[in-house]
Symmetry: C2
Subunit: 212 residues, 2 copies
DNA sequence: AATAATTTTAAACACTTGTTTAAAACAAAC
DNA sequence: GTTTGTTTTAAACAAGTGTTTAAAATTATT
């Protein structure tokens, strides 16, 4: 057995792989770059992970799980006002993505350039997705019947929120470089973000409001 | 001078490059694959385009232009109802993206994995972005002062619309494979799309409505 | 028809890729 | 202290990469 120090060879390799794969993608990252970043001999990467594909898959699976797991449980906290729950959800999702800014593009890119990846993971997520949707739908139905909101499908609710939170973040660099934000009077994306968060909330608020 | 038949060597190469770069990305596509798809000798690719980078850049620039050019002029057509304009805009943007489904992910991926790309093109788009924003803002201000809508920033208007139209499309495969759509009672993304288009319109409608 | 310019070809170049090997260094067990 | 198992190393492997070469084929010019 080997010693299990915190920065064992295996862990150092995986950390380097995490960084390089999300920075350069599956094709852009190389075994030698991973080895160099991990300060380790090239052969050790194959010794511990058998192949580049297996190494990539271990990172991809981890990141895919992190991407598809959204904390919809917050939205089911009946003790709080629905708008308050949405606000919290927006903040959490924003925070989660800011923790690993490249995550959404990494998942979208790699699955686009190699659709096979999706077939290898689809099983696990199916059950969970169904449950979360049912719970949220129940909450939305409840609030509708008590006259608080208009009837809304949970999937639409999620789609709108997720799109408006994630897409602007993955478009950050392009928005900045093309001057779209500057043209609207915002110095940087950082100064636009809090404003946009409020706007997202306002949009959802307006959408939820019962028709009078 | 060479003959300028419609499928000249240069054009055949560019067409093959277009397909392969958007399918496999800059790193995934190879000069030999391009040559093979164009049914042409490998050396000819370098003969006409000098290098892989130059070939890629010519494709990237073309696609970037197509991605950042959004037909906001529709929204300025004062002869029509604002909601009608939005509906048309949603349809056009949807149609435009469906014509080249991989376009958004291609741009987002390649600029993410090689941020330098943005520095090479930013100049051209800046002026245009400013003009379009000013025009849209003027229209929105006009409708606000005549009491038709609440005050809204053009950038927010664009951000919401663009996010809700583009993001679901680039998430199509993942949504399908993870069963999110099936859990909501939709057989495929194709059956969800028209429903979502209506939802997007409803959201924008609710958001625009003046506060009573 | 002869010459010049252009286009295409097969082959090779130098370099990088993922992966394997066989020996060395190290730690654990007896 | 010797043996056993594990980890690390430098070197090499075969295949693939972008690119260049120099000759051949084709087309255009005179």
């Amino acid at each position: 057995m080997s010693q299990e120090s915190l920065d064992s060879t295996e862990i150092k390799i995986k950390e380097a792989a995490r960084e390089l794969f999300s920075e350069l993608g599956m094709k852009g990252a190389t075994m030698r770059k991973v080895a160099e970043k991990a300060e380790v001999n090239v052969a050790l990467v194959n010794y511990y992970f058998r192949s580049k594909e297996k190494l990539f898959l271990s990172i991809f699976e981890e990141k895919f799980r992190s991407y598809t797991k959204d904390g919809l449980s917050i939205l089911n906290d009946t003790s709080r006002d629905l708008l308050d729950r949405i606000k919290t959800y927006i903040d959490r999702l924003n925070h989660q993505i800011n923790n690993d800014q490249g995550l959404p593009i990494f998942i979208l890119s790699e699955t686009h350039y190699n659709p096979n990846l999706l077939d290898m993971l689809s099983d696990l997520n199916k059950e969970q997705a169904a449950i979360e949707t049912q719970q949220l739908q129940a909450t939305l139905d409840l609030d509708y019947h008590s006259g608080k909101i208009r009837p809304i499908k949970a999937i639409d609710f999620q789609m709108a929120l997720f799109s408006m939170i994630v897409f602007p973040i993955i478009s950050k660099k392009i928005l900045t470089k093309t001057g779209k934000l500057a043209a609207a009077g915002f110095e940087s994306y950082e100064s636009y973000e809090p404003h946009w968060k409020n706007t997202t909330l306002s949009i959802m608020e307006a959408f939820l409001k019962p028709l009078s």
